[in-house]
């Protein structure tokens, strides 16, 4: 139940409109449990596969739609940045400077959140994939069938798992943010941390932290470590601000 619990936690922490788009791990597990171990029936298997396919459709639909949104938003952000950069030269008077600064802050916030959402989409993809792999493994274990390998092959090619475009956009975002954020000042970073902890209440940030924590826990090293398991995750130098005490 460990994965199920973690998935549930992740879903709870995620953006509201995403919550019903995750894998229905629990339901699938129920189905696997009900599958007879003695005589794996092809009808039941077909039903299982059908359910999996439906889940995959759900992922694909959601993912592709989000991706489309991201493409549009990225373009718009670029436009805004361009405009603000252009205004930089022309604006001399006081009000427009204020406006300019405000817009810059807004843009920065938007870019960072945009980046965060894209990364969360990648996380969505990853966690759903993991769930699928696990449920297939359970099925194979229970029925002695070999459904997992060929099925996962197909999954690997699905749109929701081919996250290259999103990944590229994320990198582009990171490059952009370097241009847009002012140079860091070491001395003020401490104050910034406090502000950041408050900022952790923002759902994108909170979701990100939850995702990292989940990933860390999921990959702590499992009892069923096999040749398809991922190695344990090590994030030695990242100190995650723990959101829980703050959010309470």
């Amino acid at each position: 139940m460990k994965f199920g619990k973690r998935l549930k936690k992740q879903v709870e922490e995620s953006l509201p409109e995403w919550r019903d788009k995750f894998l229905s791990y629990k339901d699938l597990k129920k189905l696997v449990r009900l599958t007879s171990a003695a005589q794996p029936c092809s009808r039941v298997e077909a039903e299982f596969v059908q359910m999996l396919n439906a889940e995959i459709d759900k992922f694909n639909a959601f993912f592709v739609e989000q991706e489309e949104d991201f493409i549009i938003r990225q373009r718009e952000l670029q436009e805004r940045i361009k405009r603000v950069m252009e205004d930089d030269g022309t604006g001399g008077s006081q009000p427009s400077e204020m406006e300019h600064a405000k817009e810059m802050s807004r843009i920065r916030k938007d870019i960072v959140n945009f980046h965060g959402e894209m990364v969360l989409l990648e996380n969505y993809s990853s966690i759903n994939y993991t769930g699928l792999a696990k449920i297939l493994k359970k099925y194979d274990k229970r029925t002695g069938r070999v459904l997992r390998l060929p099925f996962i092959e197909k999954v690997l090619k699905q749109p929701f798992f081919t996250t290259d475009l999103v990944s590229e956009m994320v990198k582009e975002c990171e490059r952009t943010i370097e241009l847009v954020l002012p140079v860091a000042d070491r001395g003020q970073s401490e104050q910034g941390r406090k502000g950041a902890l408050v900022a952790a209440e923002q759902s994108v940030f909170r979701n990100t932290i939850a995702a990292l924590v989940t990933m860390q826990e999921l990959r702590k090293g499992s009892s069923t470590y096999g040749h398809f398991s991922l190695p344990p995750l090590s994030l030695p130098d990242l100190q995650l601000p723990s959101p829980i005490p703050i959010l309470q």
């Binding site: 953006l15 077909a46 596969v49 059908q50 396919n53 459709d57 639909a61 592709v64 549009i72 938003r73 670029q78 805004r80 600064a101 405000k102 938007d110 960072v112 980046h115 965060g116 990364v119 990648e122 990853s126 459904l147 996962i152 197909k154 690997l156 090619k157 699905q158 749109p159 081919t162 996250t163 290259d164 590229e168 994320v170 990171e174 943010i177 954020l181 002012p182 003020q188 970073s189 104050q191 910034g192 941390r193 408050v198 900022a199 209440e201 923002q202 759902s203 994108v204 940030f205 909170r206 990100t208 990292l212 990933m215 090293g221 096999g226 040749h227 398809f228 991922l230 190695p231 601000p241």
Partner: protein, 459 residues
């Protein structure tokens, strides 16, 4: 269009979009892939062949940025596959099945398949970063981006093409059945034609190869429609909206079209569709995209902030009202740091997952082949027992051949040793060198800090 009953195990229903001829072929667990592209080309009618070459010549291939350093040698295939897709998108179904069947029936399968699993996993999707002003050449090359979705891990060029074709055939036959009529109705013949190759006598809008319409436009032919309909959704959405995968280039094209029409408010879906002239793009796609575009433009802040507002009341917190200020910037910086880290880890994880699966598939295939070949050797009595011993060795070496981080060095040596054992027993001399190469490649491509021991152990 598709049925759920009696699915071949492990096949998603997407495969059922292939015509019946090829779907039977496709359902074999490990499709055999043709060795070269040239074997497919002769099957193409000549008019398509010529533009294909032209397309290839026109596409310079900017260097890619792979995540892990690796040769990116298969960019040409993107243009191949995309143009092939364009060629095939009308009812070339018998054609399709012919070529697919030809591909499957080739005997020298495993050699080419072994090349599949050579690491590393490249990310060939975009040739360059998404610049603010993508030029037309990039967009031409990127026309395949919307199409190629699942071939990142496969390095062999012919495999790539075949996979592309396989997927594209499904999508195209789906699109064909659904939307082509709409497109015919909507598009006019007289407008200037996209550069992309089109099947000659099929569509109404393909004959001339003129330049795209205006100076400001990114050629819209770079767009590619991938009807990513999965299994059960197709039944309900068949007539309406095959799902489409947008790319930044296609979006750029869209924006140009919208601007030509006077802006997002004035532009109509039909007008945009006509200007864009992207094959396979339907008015539904354009309509929904236009709607999203309008929303994004006129309420950028509320859209971005929506996720925050609904979840918490963070907007009302005094410290967050500070749109300026060091605290705020630092907060953003921290958030960015965390996000970057998550992204990094996700990428690594994804790579690992892909590689693990490749490895598993490879071993499975080797096992099957050996099993098959030993079954054929009926004259030797000892061979009958071989499968069982091999299976135990198989699992042994499979377990060991994992990508371990937590393994100690003694098991590392067992990896190559066990693998060599297996391959020796299999007596497949052509396999052996590549086995070791494969092991080396696999282990050495992993992050060096974690796997330096393995690298040392390997021959």
């Amino acid at each position: 269009m598709e049925t759920h009953s009696a699915l071949p195990v492990g096949n998603l229903n997407m495969q059922q979009f292939c015509n019946s001829g090829s779907s039977g072929v496709m359902s074999s667990s490990l499709p055999v892939l043709p060795n070269t592209l040239e074997e497919k080309f002769p099957e193409l009618p000549d008019p398509q062949h010529v533009p294909l070459e032209r397309e290839i010549q026109r596409n310079p291939l900017p260097s890619r940025r792979p995540l892990f350093s690796s040769p990116s040698g298969f960019s040409p295939d993107l243009s191949f596959s995309s143009t092939l897709a364009h060629e095939r998108h009308t009812n070339n179904t018998p054609f399709v099945s012919r070529s697919l069947n030809a591909g499957v029936s080739l005997p020298s399968t495993y050699l080419s398949n072994m090349e599949i699993f050579q690491v590393p996993n490249n990310f060939p999707k975009d040739p360059t970063e998404i610049t603010w002003c993508p030029d037309s050449v990039q967009s031409m090359l990127n026309c395949s981006d919307g199409v190629i979705m699942g071939n990142n891990q496969i390095q062999n060029s012919s495999n790539k093409v075949s996979n592309d074709l396989h997927k594209q055939n499904e999508w195209w036959s789906d699109i064909m059945n659904v939307d082509w009529k709409d497109l015919f109705d909507d598009t006019t013949i007289s407008e200037s034609q996209p550069k992309v190759v089109c099947p000659p006598a099929q569509s109404s809008s393909n004959i001339s190869m003129q330049q795209p319409q205006t100076d400001q436009s990114v050629p819209c032919h770079s767009g590619e429609v991938c009807a990513v309909t999965g299994a059960s959704s197709s039944a309900t959405t068949a007539a309406a909206k095959p799902r489409m995968r947008w790319t930044p280039e296609l979006h750029e094209c869209f924006i140009n079209a919208v601007n030509q029409l006077g802006g997002s408010e004035k532009a109509t879906p039909k007008g945009v569709l006509n200007i864009m002239k992207v094959e396979g793009l339907t008015i539904y796609h354009v309509k929904s995209h236009l709607q999203k575009y309008r929303t994004a433009r006129y309420k950028p802040d509320s859209l971005e902030g929506m996720s925050e507002k609904t979840a918490t009341q963070s907007e009302e917190l005094p410290s967050l009202d500070l749109k300026t200020g060091i605290d705020f910037t630092e907060a953003l910086r921290l958030q960015m740091e965390v996000q970057k880290r998550l992204h990094e880890q996700l990428e690594i994880q994804r790579n690992l997952q892909l590689r693990i699966e490749e490895q598993g598939k490879y071993l499975q295939m080797m096992f099957e082949k050996q099993y098959k070949s030993t079954m054929d050797k009926t004259h030797c009595s000892s061979t009958v027992e071989k499968p069982t011993t091999i299976s135990s060795d198989q699992t042994h070496s499979t377990a060991k051949i994992d990508l371990p981080e937590a393994r100690n060095s003694s098991t590392d040596s067992k990896i190559t040793e066990g693998f060599r054992q297996v391959s020796n027993k299999w007596k497949m001399s052509e396999v052996e060198p590549s086995n070791e190469k494969e092991t080396d490649a696999l282990t050495s491509s992993l992050p060096p800090s974690k796997h330096s021991r393995i690298n040392d152990e390997d021959s």
